[in-house]
C-alpha cells in the first residue's frame, strides 16, 4: 500500500537527501568538536588534581544529564544571547552537539586511557620523559586506538541525535522529512524513507571506522574474540 504512495513522495526525495549535507555538518562538527573537548577532559580526569577533576565532573554531568532539546534551546535563546551574540541555528547546533559529545567522548577516552597498562607510563618516565611527554607520546597514541570502537558508537548515536536539531529549524534530513509530510499529507512513507536513509548513513560510517580500526591496529597484539 505504501508503494502506491511512492509517486507522491518521489518529487521530494532530492529535497530530503539534500538534508544529508546538513546532517553531516552537524555530525562532523559535533564529533570533531567533541573530540577536541573530550580528549583533554579525559586526560584531566585521569591525571588531574582534585579541583580539576571536580570541575570536569560537573561539565560531564551537565552535558550528559540535560536533554539535548533543552540544551539546544538554552544555548540558542539563553547562553549565546546573554554572551552578547546570536549564532545561527546550524552553528548553535554544532556547538551544542560538540559540547555534549565532548562529555560522552571524554568517558570513552577516559576508559581507553585507563586501560593502557601502568607500566607504559612507568617506562616512559624511567627514560626521562615528563608526565606530559609520556601522555602525548606513549599513552594517547595507544588510547586512541583502543577508543575507536567506542567512538564508532558515538558516531552512530550522534547521527541520530543530530535529527533533534529540527527544533531549531536546521534543515537536516528529518526536518525536511517533516516538511514533506506536511506538504504531501503522507504519514508513514517519508519517515520510512528517512529511516532507511539513516540506516545507510550509519552503515557507511561505522564501516569506515571499522576499516580505520583494522588499519591502525598494532601488529601482533591479540584482538579478543577474533
Amino acid at each position: 500500500m505504501y508503494l502506491e504512495q511512492l509517486p507522491m513522495l518521489a518529487p521530494y526525495i532530492p529535497f530530503i537527501l539534500e538534508g544529508t549535507i546538513w546532517t553531516y555538518s552537524l555530525v562532523g562538527g559535533g564529533l570533531g568538536l567533541g573530540f577536541l573537548i573530550g580528549v583533554p577532559i579525559a586526560i584531566g580526569q585521569v591525571y588531574g588534581g582534585r579541583i580539576i577533576k571536580g570541575i570536569l565532573d560537573v561539565y560531564v554531568w551537565f552535558f550528559r544529564g540535560v536533554p539535548l532539546i533543552v540544551q539546544l534551546f538554552l544555548f540558542y535563546w539563553g547562553v549565546f544571547p546573554a554572551m552578547g551574540f546570536k549564532l545561527p541555528a546550524l552553528a548553535t547546533s554544532i556547538v551544542v552537539l560538540g559540547l555534549r559529545s565532548g562529555a560522552y567522548q571524554s568517558q570513552i577516552f577516559r576508559g581507553a586511557i585507563e586501560s593502557v597498562e601502568e607500566g607504559q607510563m612507568l617506562a616512559a618516565r624511567a627514560i626521562g620523559m615528563s608526565k606530559a611527554q609520556a601522555i602525548i607520546h606513549i599513552v594517547i597514541p595507544q588510547a586512541l586506538r583502543i577508543a575507536i570502537p567506542g567512538w564508532t558508537n558515538e558516531y552512530a548515536i550522534l547521527l541520530k541525535d543530530s535529527a533533534i536539531c529540527f527544533v531549531l529549524g536546521v534543515m537536516e534530513v528529518l526536518t525536511r522529512t517533516k516538511y514533506v509530510v506536511s506538504a504531501t499529507g503522507l504519514a508513514l512513507l517519508p519517515y520510512l524513507f528517512a529511516g532507511i536513509h539513516f540506516l545507510i548513513l550509519t552503515y557507511g560510517g561505522t564501516k569506515i571506522f571499522n576499516i580505520l580500526y583494522e588499519k591502525v591496529h598494532i601488529p601482533g597484539l591479540v584482538k579478543r574474540g577474533m
Partner: protein, 253 residues
C-alpha cells in the same frame, strides 16, 4: 663523595600506609661495578630500585647520582632519569612502536637528538644486545620474551646511562629464554656498564657481580662477595634462602 662512586643511597625509608617496606637502606656503587640484590619477595627489592630513580618517592633518605642529589626537591628529576637506565620485569616496551622506535623515542623526545644521530645510536644499541636488523621493524607483540627484554635493555643502553637498574629482568621469561638475556647482561657488565640487578639468578651473580646484597624485611641483612654470601652466609635466614633458590634455579649460567 668519592670520584668514582656513581650511585649512592643513604638511609632509604619507604612505607605504604602502616606497612614499612624499606627500613633504612644504604649502599653505593662505583663506576663499572655490577651489584646484585637478592632476597625473598616482599623484602623491598623492587621498591628500593624504584626509589633510586624516584619512580617511587622515598619517605626519608637521600640518593645521589654522581654528584647530584636526586632527592633534593629542586632537582629536575626528568633530567636525571635519562641517565639511569631501568629494565622492568614485564619489559614495558611501548606497544605501539617498533623495536627500533622503542629505542629511538627517548633519544628523539628526551635527548632531542637529530634523527640521523638517534637512528645511528639506536641501531648500535640494538646490535649490542644482539637484536639483528630483521627484528628492528617488528612490534613488541611480534617478539619473543627474550627479544623484548633485550630491546628494553637496548632502550636503556641507548640513552648512555651512568648506571642500569634491572628489576628481576628474567623473572617473566620462559626458562629457555632466560639465557639470552643473562648473556647480554653479562656482556654489558664485562664491558664496564655499571649495573644494579635484582635477581635470583645465582649463576649470574657468581659470574659477574662484584657484590651481592641480601635483603630481608626492608633492610640489607648482609653483603659481600657473591661466593661468600651465597655459600657461606653469616645469617641463617640467608642460608635458608639460597638453599631454596638453589633448589629452584640450580646454578644456571
Amino acid at each position: 663523595m668519592s670520584r668514582d662512586i656513581v650511585l649512592k643511597a643513604e638511609d632509604i625509608h619507604k612505607s605504604y600506609g602502616s606497612l614499612k617496606v624499606l627500613k633504612g637502606v644504604s649502599f653505593e656503587i662505583k663506576k663499572g661495578e655490577t651489584k646484585v640484590i637478592a632476597g625473598p619477595s616482599g623484602a623491598g627489592k623492587s621498591t628500593l630500585l624504584r626509589c633510586l630513580n624516584l619512580l617511587t618517592k622515598p619517605d626519608k633518605g637521600r640518593v645521589w647520582l654522581e654528584d647530584i642529589e636526586l632527592t633534593n626537591p629542586s632537582v629536575n628529576i626528568n633530567k636525571i632519569r635519562q641517565k639511569i637506565g631501568f629494565v622492568f620485569q614485564e619489559f614495558n616496551l611501548f606497544h605501539h612502536l617498533t623495536a627500533l622506535d622503542n629505542v629511538m623515542i627517548g633519544l628523539r623526545k628526551v635527548k632531542k637528538l637529530p634523527k640521523e644521530e638517534a637512528l645511528r645510536r639506536a641501531k648500535e644499541a640494538l646490535l649490542t644486545v644482539h637484536i639483528t636488523e630483521d627484528l628492528w621493524h617488528k612490534y613488541p607483540a611480534q617478539l619473543s620474551g627474550g627479544q623484548k627484554q633485550r630491546v628494553a635493555i637496548a632502550r636503556a643502553l641507548a640513552m648512555d646511562p651512568v648506571i642500569i637498574l634491572y628489576d628481576e629482568p628474567t623473572s617473566a621469561l620462559d626458562p629457555q629464554l632466560v639465557g639470552e638475556v643473562l648473556q647480554v647482561m653479562k656482556e654489558l657488565a664485562r664491558s664496564g656498564v655499571t649495573g644494579l640487578v635484582v635477581t635470583h639468578e645465582i649463576g649470574f651473580a657468581l659470574e659477574v657481580a662484584d657484590e651481592m646484597m641480601f635483603m630481608y624485611d626492608g633492610r640489607i641483612l648482609e653483603k659481600g662477595p657473591p661466593k661468600e654470601v651465597v655459600f657461606n652466609p653469616k645469617h641463617e635466614i640467608t642460608r635458608k634462602f639460597f638453599e631454596q633458590v638453589g633448589r629452584l634455579y640450580g646454578e644456571r649460567r
